[in-house]
Amino acid sequence: MRRRARIVALELWLPVVVVAAWWTLSAGSQSLYFPPLETILEEFRATFLSSGADEHLRPSLVNLGLGYGIAVVTGVVAGVLIGMNRWAAAALDPLVHFFRALPGPALLPFAIIAFGIGTTMKVWIIAFTSLFPVLLNAIDGVRGVDPTAREVARAYRLGRLRRIFAIVLPSASPQIMAGLRVGLQTAILLMVVSELVASTSGIGFFILQSQQQFEIADMWAGIVALGLLGCILNAAFGLVERRVLRWYIATHGEVVR
């Protein structure tokens, strides 16, 4: 019991000290760039925790959800189909690798040309850029299914669909989850980037607007909001990942990095 308390204390003291230091050192600060933490938190509460949340938080989350969702479904389904077909995999490999390596934000001008500015453009660019990490990892995961597993499927004469759902998908799931993780990071990145350029809503837009109007505390509030969002989404993903890959963690000790 004492040992437990010691570990908790060890893990918490520094974060607490850092926040406390930030609070005290910035209290009553006149600096342009670093307003008092208290003010920041007040603005944060006012903008994001009250009814004002709808104005900026919701559009961001909706676009993120839609874009990432489309990328995940398309990526996994296409990945499985392509991965199971050697010719398709060979033909599409260079293209998939190219778009995976291309920094997503570079496509922003193209997206604006094609879709204008607005929700469609944002959802498209989030979906398109986070598709490729998912797709690439799904293809690799499917191709890497243990040959013994395949043999067992053949030896016991399992049907095609059964083979995919009972053997191929679960076997590839560690790699697929790794792809989903990278895809999430990409989606969040493009969500913010698309709101920093030619946008009228969203957390990114809020941060930019605050900066342009020298509402620095508001800007920081937006940064805190995004930081929290990033943390929460990652934590949630980690929970899901640990649940889905329980069997993999039990046999390998950790998830695919």
Binding site: Y33, A90, D93, A114, G179, V182, V193, I207, V256
Partner: protein, 258 residues
């Protein structure tokens, strides 16, 4: 077993097919061919661009910030990560702070960085370092923590001195983890560099892309995007090769997220 030659041929065929489809769509009536130039025009623009000096200057800027940012990050992450990896107390103290800073989308700091530093190299470096440090740090820590227990005991049994222990046992053991972290960091550094240029207006390829867009030089725009993609492939390729070489030092029991 298919030979690599056949795979390569099929791959080329795939790319050719995609280009042909692009050509067909662009030449048809579906899309405005000014905004969506066919691959032939983009290729022309590409050749033209590569001959221009502003292109190489811009490329140099992007490369400079990427490499410099990466170097700074590595210089901090290696010693710090090693120290944290070797000390349970220090690691446990810092873990939450790092885990909280890691998922913050660095792009959110772009407006602040612009405010503080303008569109300078310094601004780019601050963002690149902040964005690449935390993940790399964690990878170094994992690598150091995961030194093979048997190797560790053998070293203790032979009473190896601290420095030799670090260099001959810890470093090779942690190398695959570090190499993976480096690959991700390199790719992220390039990404952040482009973002600061494209969105923030700092010098580099990203800025040229924005310029081409405002000037409605669409074929140049597409050409620059393609070149950026190629740059991404190059960076990824080089770092992956390094990673693979270090993976050979230890039994390959890990898979890597693409």
């Amino acid at each position: 077993m298919r030979e690599p030659a056949t795979t390569a041929v099929v791959g080329v065929a795939g790319v050719a097919g995609a280009l042909a489809a692009w050509q067909a769509v662009s030449a048809g009536e579906v899309l405005d061919s000014t905004s969506f130039p066919p691959p032939t025009e983009v290729l022309d623009a590409l050749v033209r661009v590569v001959g221009e000096s502003w292109f190489w200057t811009a490329l140099g800027e992007t490369a400079k910030s990427t490499l410099l940012g990466l170097l700074i990050t590595v210089a901090i992450a290696l010693p710090l990560g090693a120290a944290l990896g070797l000390s349970e107390t220090a690691f446990r103290s810092c873990r939450l702070v790092i885990e909280f800073l890691k998922p913050i989308p660095v792009v959110a700091l772009l407006p602040l960085a612009l405010l503080m530093y303008g569109t300078t190299l310094q601004m780019k470096l601050v963002l690149i370092c902040f964005g690449t440090l935390w993940p790399l740090l964690m990878q170094v820590i994992y690598g150091v923590q995961n030194v093979d227990a048997v190797a560790a005991e053998t070293a203790r049994a032979y009473r190896l001195r601290r420095t030799r222990w670090l260099v001959s046992v810890v470093l090779p053991s942690a190398a695959p983890f570090i190499a993976t972290g480096l690959r991700v960091a390199g790719v992220t550094a390039l990404l952040l560099s482009i973002v600061t240029e494209l969105v923030g207006g700092a010098a580099g390829l990203g800025l040229q892309i924005t310029r081409a867009q405002s000037a409605a030089d669409y074929d140049e725009l597409y050409a620059l995007v393609v070149i950026t993609g190629v740059l991404g492939i190059a960076v990824n390729g080089v770092l992956r090769r390094m990673e693979r070489r270090t993976l050979r030092w230890l039994p390959e029991h890990r898979e890597v997220a693409a």
